[in-house]
Amino acid sequence: MKKINLTFSLLAVLALFMVSCSGGEKKQEVTETKTEMAPEGKGQSAVIDDVSAANALQVAKSLDDFKTLVAAIEAAGVEDAVVNVGPLTIFAPVNAAFDKLPAGTLDDLLKPENKSKLAFILVNHVAPANYPDSQLKKEAKKGRKLYMASGKYLLVEDKEDGIYVGGTKILKSVKVSNGWIHVIDNVLVPAE
């Protein structure tokens, strides 16, 4: 459709060009053809709102611990999904977690050609539901696995020293406007 529009614009411009050369004085209308196209909208992550409670992305961006995670979210182009009304529960690896990956892995994932691979890993950290820590404990108690946005399932365990998800311990929990962030120090790389 866009191509058709573009072709049409081009034809319109050329037609005008011809008219203007023979008639002599209507050239400024060339610019008018641009307005035919609706501008590309920015996604929901561009909404300016300093009144509502902060959403998951706003919280992550405000903390230095999540610099790498935020960079990965942006590289994978999933910012809009992370601010979506959700609800979402995000297991958020700190910077150090990415350092634990085999050398070169992160750099490799951040390459444009690996965008979808990176996105797949990131959404493996997101459960499309509302899981405060009290609910995670119940999940463990009732033996229910967490369904992740990657399509994979993660095991929840309620151990003596804390709650574990996918084998890694939850260090801290933060309520965000569109769900919960649970801080972890390992990247949950999904099995292929």
């Binding site: 411009v13 060009f17 400024q28 209308e29 709102d49 009144v51 499309p128 404990k137």
Partner: protein, 657 residues
């Protein structure tokens, strides 16, 4: 990427054009300005330049449109119940529709007017009148909700309302129908001399906008049609058109058109205010409701008032005068300078314009032509500024562009006519489709109009849209008035009757629009501020459910122990603190509307189960990805059953860890 490509292409083509023709200079021309589609097009994601608050007329509501696009943003329930928003259905808003006649589910909204400071729109509130059961409402422009409704006693057909003075000192409400004062059982044919027309001056608290009747001026029994405040030099005066000065009580279409001239009443309200402040006037018994909605308790209260201060014109000599105006004048419009008062005689061939400075001079020189019930009638010529000769048929209303021009609608000849103040010459005329009533220029009733667009609101539609059976939507037509000639840009449908409208630049109010209600500021007596404190309590046959909602569940969502014959109160709090995330609530078989609860708000719905069984409820607003999962069950047992009250979420008590 594509955009860059397009731009490059455009530049290439452009340079080809320029290069080949060799003359690069260009200027704007008529072909561009003639592009109506472009001038009303607001690209996706872009904002309109103006808000238009368009009355819903017999819908009783107030709609919010964007201009120039004509896009509908919201319908604010004011005088009629609105099942979509639970207005008049939930326990919190039912008191808003209380009157001295009891709960009234419908109203007829007419003239919105935006609050002003120093004669300029300040964008704090919109006031609007209800015709049928006389009331004035106030809409808060941070929440875009109706926050106050004041009933007007001794009034009927509250039509010459609700216009504000230049510092919103007063909102004024004049009666269309005169009625016995005080109301009593009497023969209708004894109308003349016995019926009265109340002009009500409502004081507005400058801080929070609270309305309170300061005084009612008990005028002769004419019909008071429309009104406008003075401004600038005429600030302190208010002008009201009258018709039926014949005081007919039947077949008014004939009997109220006998007099060659009716009047515009000029009322010096500052003088009467001074009289009242010094103890003047008489307190009389009255019964009228004052309903106030609070954002703190998210609830309205209705208080019945029992007294009103009455002032008779004879008590304040020199405060009220009649200016004769031909043939049943309807619109009564004051220009931005405050000097000209335009009377649009519905049946007159000409427009009559009075001069405020001449009015003052005529009063000083006592240029009177008798009196009506003791109120001096000024000589017609003495106050006359000029006449717009034969501008059209059936003039109704006039607005101003702030550049010395006036725009008047003509119902019968179905057109809007632009004319010049001072010279009274007609400059342009454009047909409208069909039969316009009011027109609106943003800031039109103020010292500073924003003269870019005129919105003309038509009464008759006929063939203008795809037909929809006998009833067709009434239309609003947008004109560009920046040029010498008016240009019709678009034509869009409205709700009910777009009786009148008020417009304001979006930049003056959009940043103040509220996003959420803070949960910690919620003082609703039945608020539940955390899931763990949700509960169900039985009190006799009343069951009170303190419930919370957050993406994507209710807490509790399984409730047992309710019985047939119980009265179940759902007190539901939306725990969200995120912009544009309301939740809804609907209970099967509830004889009421849904609830639509904003973030941080609490609302209450009543359900009286009549059948044994297990009955579901659910969220009605597509709130989240798991909206379809947002549901619950209530077990209803027979009356007298021994099933105890219990409530759970995920099989556990709510305060369980």
């Amino acid at each position: 990427m594509k955009t860059i490509f397009k731009s490059l292409l455009a530049i290439m083509v452009l340079s080809m054009v320029l290069g080949s023709c060799g003359k690069g200079d260009s200027k704007k021309n008529g072909a561009l300005s003639g592009n109506a589609a472009e001038r009303v097009y607001v690209a996706p994601g872009e904002y309109d330049e103006f808000y238009a608050f368009v009355s819903g007329g017999f819908s009783g509501q107030l709609s919010v449109y964007g201009l120039p696009s004509g896009r509908l943003f919201k319908v604010i329930p004011v005088f009629s119940v609105d099942a979509e928003k639970a207005y008049g259905f939930n326990e919190e808003t039912k008191p808003m529709l209380n009157t001295s006649h009891g709960f009234i589910p419908w109203g007829d909204s007419h003239h919105p007017d935006i609050s002003q400071t120093g004669g300029v729109l300040d964008g704090r509130w919109v006031f609007i009148n209800e015709n049928n059961t006389p009331r004035i409402a106030k809409i808060d422009l941070t929440t875009f909700e109706t926050t106050e409704i004041l009933e007007i006693p001794n009034s009927a057909g509250n039509h010459s309302s609700s216009f504000v003075t230049e510092n919103t000192e007063y909102v004024v409400a004049g009666t269309r129908f005169s009625i016995p004062f005080p109301q009593r059982d009497m023969p209708i044919k004894e109308f003349k001399g016995n019926f009265k027309g109340a002009l009500t001056f409502i004081k507005v608290d400058p801080k929070d906008g609270t309305m309170d009747i300061k005084f009612q001026l008990m005028m002769p029994g004419f019909d008071y049609d429309l009104s406008h405040p003075g401004r600038g030099d005429s600030h302190g005066w208010f002008f009201f058109t009258t018709y039926n000065t014949e005081e007919a009580n039947s077949l008014l279409e004939v009997n109220a058109s006998q007099n060659d001239k009716d009047f515009i009443a000029a009322v010096n309200w500052k003088k009467i205010e001074e009289y009242v402040n010094n103890g003047g006037g008489t307190k009389m018994p009255a019964k009228y409701a004052h309903n106030v909605y609070s954002d703190e308790v998210h609830s309205a209260t209705s208080t019945m008032r029992d007294e009103v201060l009455i002032v008779n014109p004879s008590e304040v000599p020199g405060a009220i005068y009649f200016m004769p105006t031909p043939k049943s004048p309807h619109g009564c419009d004051v220009d931005p300078s405050g000097e000209y008062i335009v009377g649009n005689g519905k049946l007159s061939a000409d427009l009559t314009v009075h001069s405020f400075s001449k009015l003052i001079k005529a009063i000083e020189e006592k240029k009177f032509d008798g009196d009506a019930y003791g109120i001096p009638i000024l000589q017609f010529e003495a106050t006359l500024a000029g006449v717009v000769k034969s501008p059209g048929l059936g003039p109704l209303h006039t607005e101003f562009d702030g550049k010395g021009n006036a725009y008047t609608t003509f119902f019968i000849s179905s057109e809007v006519v632009k004319w010049k103040l001072g010279t009274w010459e007609v400059l342009d005329r454009k047909s409208t489709y069909y039969s316009p009533g009011h027109l609106m220029i943003p800031g039109g009733n103020s010292g500073k109009p924003f003269g870019k667009y005129a919105l003309v609101m038509n009464k008759i539609t006929k063939d203008r849209y795809l037909p929809t059976g006998p009833e067709v939507t009434q239309s609003a037509q947008l004109f560009d008035i920046t040029g010498e000639k008016m240009v019709l840009l678009s034509d869009f449908p409205t709700i009910g009757e777009p009786h009148y409208a008020a417009g304001i630049p979006a930049s003056l109010i959009m940043s103040k629009s509220k996003k959420i209600y803070k949960l910690e500021e919620n003082k609703h007596p039945f608020a539940t501020k955390s899931q763990s404190t949700a509960k169900v309590i039985r009190k006799g046959n009343e069951v009170h459910i303190y419930m919370t909602m957050i993406r994507s569940h209710f807490a509790p969502d399984n409730i047992e122990g309710v019985q047939v014959g119980d009265k179940v109160f759902f007190h539901i709090t939306n725990l969200e603190q995120d912009y544009d995330v309301p939740h809804g609530f609907a209970m099967i078989g509830a004889q009421t509307s849904e609830l639509l609860i904003m973030p941080g708000q609490t609302e209450t719905s009543i359900w009286e189960p009549k059948q044994v069984g297990v009955w579901p409820f659910y969220c009605t607003d597509f709130c989240s990805a798991l909206h379809q999962e947002m549901q619950g069950y209530i077990r209803v047992s027979p009356k007298g059953s021994n099933v105890p009250i219990s409530f759970t979420l995920d099989g556990d008590a709510l305060d369980a860890e």
